[in-house]
Symmetry: C2
Subunit: 327 residues, 2 copies
């Protein structure tokens, strides 16, 4: 092996562009973060101002690891990120991108000596991250479901991320799970998976469950409007029956959804990513049970159900950086 | 161009292995069928006997086109056909394969001088057929839905057929469309798309619609147990309001399903294949209308809705033959 060549550019930059913070990491091929920094995502009038601030922060950690000549590429995970265009497109929560297409990949590449820069949404970045450094190493067909404020997904088929005809494929949070009397979803439609199985969906379930009965529950000590999925998880951990049923309900629906996804892609694994996976068996067990009940016999017992193998706090940066290795 | 090389093996064999008939075609690269023959699929005790009979019939048309040295490869579309194993696996309707895995691809290859033989299910074969000779030429992301006795599907992503981890991906007839009080499906589960939108599903809808009301309908002249989707289509063509509503109901559900499939794969087209597409606008219009109502705003207006471009009577043979060109 030509270690000289391999050693020339041993790092990629990852940018986890979130609604609040933009977190950067410089990462090696084994997924070790060599340097990291962050800036606020908001407070810039234009995308140019945002990129200026990013480059200023980045330059410090680039110097720290030995300079730009050691950087192979950059990957960005961003809301409404489109891989084909390399742009963040009409992202409702980003003031500098809410009514336009911002070609961030091109803008960063120009400011970083022309290195290749790839951009996609955070769930797709998570999927590439799992394939590169996580539990999906060696897998060719798997689905990552990110359970956070929303439900996102990254789908890998034949070893390739599914971007579809327009770069926006893999919106599994918006398959319809309840066609009658479904909850209103943020996307404007009704009954979406995300309206039930995101962290906000779980909090909503808690309020519904509390209203429906007089059953005692630790959750009654809280202001219903302030309940979070973490509160439900803590209460369930203390043995609260109603809280447990909320996770059963959530996991049951995720299992139903995965059974349909199996009919589509027959993946070797479903990988769950994001804050809600901290609930552990509380959410994973009902998912697996419901999947077994709902999946076509031909697919039964074939798929694994895994929790992300990426380190929690830096998982999103690792995912983004993994896009860099793919370029 | 080296026309000598190109001309050496100008043909592939296609085998449409159906429950009743096994139809063979020898096809050129433009999708023209040069010779065709058929045998009955049933009446053989063993798979070997079946292949013997096939080879005997095939030899005649192989000689007709100029001999085996002009044949590049063979493709087979078969129920429960697995591309990875090249086998027909536990096909309930095939006496010589209902409780075993029959490695048909290998068996045919051995009997045909070692030419490559590929095998998959009929819906996947239809998808490759559309990509090779039909309306999906040049497309990289599309979904074929076959509306026949059942509902099958062939999914193409990044220009490749989706086989999944086990070779059985693409069972979109078995996504769950009605989670409460869903119709029992042949797969043993409830509420599957196939239970409503196959030809048998349409006939079932007809019986349900007739029972529910006293509304006059041409369909009342028929024995309810004998009604077929063709009867419904003919009645609707004559302006029968109840028959039209049955197609509206069917198309509406297909549109809902396609909206979910878009969230998965964001295809550039949905292509409908099989007997029920003969109903034309009667089925296609409600599909499109319902899709527009149900799809996520981000995907709206992006996908085309097409009817198969393969000639009806030989579509399945063409699809099977197209597998041969892929090998």
């Amino acid at each position: 092996m030509n270690t000289q060549t391999a050693a020339v550019k041993p790092y990629v930059i990852g940018l986890d562009l979130g609604g609040t913070n933009s977190v950067f990491g410089i990462v090696d091929a084994r997924g070790e973060i060599k340097a990291t920094t962050a800036i606020k995502t908001q407070g810039y009038d234009t995308a140019e101002d945002y990129v200026d601030a990013c480059i200023e922060a980045l330059q410090v950690i680039i110097d720290e690891v030995g300079g730009l000549e050691l950087i192979k590429a950059m990957g960005i995970g961003a809301p409404n990120g489109n891989y084909y265009s390399g742009a963040v497109e009409f992202a409702p929560n980003l003031a500098w991108a809410h009514n336009s297409k911002v070609p961030l990949a091109k803008m960063f590449s120009e400011r970083l000596g022309g290195i290749p820069v790839g951009l996609t949404n955070d769930a797709n970045a998570a999927a590439v991250g799992e394939m590169t450094y996580g539990v999906a190493r060696g897998m060719k067909n798997f689905i990552v479901l990110t359970l956070g404020t929303g439900v996102g997904s990254g789908i890998v088929i034949n070893g390739q991320l599914v971007y579809g005809s327009d770069g926006f494929a893999g919106e599994l949070g918006h398959v319809t799970m309840r066609r009658e009397n479904g909850r209103l979803c943020g996307c404007g439609r009704k009954g979406c998976l995300e309206a039930y199985c995101s962290a906000t969906g779980v909090a909503r379930s808690a309020r519904e469950f509390l209203e429906k009965t007089d059953e005692p529950s630790l959750l009654r000590e809280l202001d219903p409007e302030q309940i979070t999925s973490l509160d439900v998880s803590i209460a369930a951990g203390k043995g609260d029956a109603l809280a447990k049923r909320i996770y059963d309900f959530t996991g049951h629906m995720l299992g139903e959804a995965c059974a349909d996804f199996a009919a589509f892609a027959s993946p070797e694994a479903f990988i769950f990513f994001g804050g809600m996976t901290k609930a552990g068996d509380l959410i994973m067990e009902p998912i697996k049970k419901s999947y077994d009940e709902h999946v076509m016999p031909i697919f039964k017992g074939k798929a694994e159900f895994l929790v992300s193998g990426l380190d929690g706090s830096s998982a999103a940066v690792l995912g983004a950086s993994a896009i860099g290795w793919e370029l």
